[in-house]
Amino acid sequence: MSVQSNVEVHSEWGIVSARQAGRNLAKELGFGGVDQARFTTAISELARNIYLYAEQGEIIIETVENSRITGVQRGLKITARDRGPGIKSIREVMEDGYTTSGGLGAGLPGVKRLMDEFDIDSVTGEGTEITAIKWLR
């Protein structure tokens, strides 16, 4: 059974709640301290983008499973969804060093590196949906 947590983001409080929800689930699932921090940082960056650029949206965190020969692999998936302005040039934004925050490795490319899987969909004028998964090692 999958566990899910939805958090509305329209203020910095929302960012903190999303982090909290993510950390709780990561702990429960058995992620170590460093991976908890990485997962939470990814949530933080995505939630902050919603707050800054789309004003409001939601962060959904849920457990996911993947059957492998070695057994069932468990992980956590973040979905960050908003109906904001969308991202015009995704390719540019995914380039290292693009962020307005000065290119110190944070931002979306940083999130992608913190996670194991990363997917982004965005339509200008309609909104953005980013999903990312971190597997339990």
Binding site: A37, R38, T40, L104, G105, G110, R113
Partner: protein, 337 residues
Amino acid sequence: MADSYSFMQEQYTKILKTYLEEKNEIGLYQAQQFSKKVLENQISPEEVVSLHIEALEHFFPDLPQGARDSFDFLIEIMMGYGMAYREHQILRDKQKELESEINVAASMQQTFLPDEIPEMDTLDVGVISVPASKMSGDYYHFVKDDNDCIGVAIADIIGKGVPAALCMSMIKYAMDSLPEQRLQPGALLENLNRVVEQNVASNMFITMMYGSYDSRVHHFYYSGAGHEPGFYYNKAEDSFEELYAKGLVLGLNRDTQFREYHKKVEPGDFIVLLSDGVTECRTDDGFIEREEITRLIRQYSDLSAQEIVDNVFYQLEKLQGFRLRDDFSLIILRRKV
């Protein structure tokens, strides 16, 4: 990744234990060596904090909860460094990739330049062209026809590096496609000017000096397009004069006309063509004087044309602490006796 982490964990615990027991410089030296290993194994900063807390918990099972919790805080603080660290690794790989691309482009560019300088009974020719970085914005070109007439061009694309090099490749093809005006410098520049004006971005300019030397009668005809003046050395008077040619830079105005100048060349006289990287040699005291260049040329004037340009380059390179600020090209054509 996971393997190297647990291996590092073991090592870290061991050297930290030794240090805590003996508290001496050897232990700290081991830590310093370990920090290199951490980087080699691509362990990120937040993982180092985690190595530390795990080792501490091992040595001090009764570690106060507050101290333990403070490490979660520290891990969070280190996340920024961790992200910057991972980006750094990627950018480093990217830079290597770019560098090897530029190396390929630079060796391609070398093929645009003549691979040998013309050998003639009447003229002693010396050429040196050195880019400030990998790609050059200077260009030179020689053609020799059946009548022992030689055409020589020296050009400087305003700007440096890759954009200048791209522009230079265009100049090369444009020159190759205008063979018939070879001996008429003015007409050649007029044609070239139209090609540049039509094909090159309006913020790119090219200066050029083009000359043709008729070695049957020893006349030198030349025209210039905003190019750094060269020198003419008069052997009989043992004096240098400016080799100046009035004309607008290429690409500025479609209908520019270029005046043609003429010199009668006597035995031992020589023509010096250069790019502004030679005259705009910068030392800590500012630009060098043009006289400095003629002084150097005179100093080596007993040598062959090639040895003169090589030596002048060496001296000017040395003057600048072996760091060129601009592409450097120097050509000497000397009438043999």
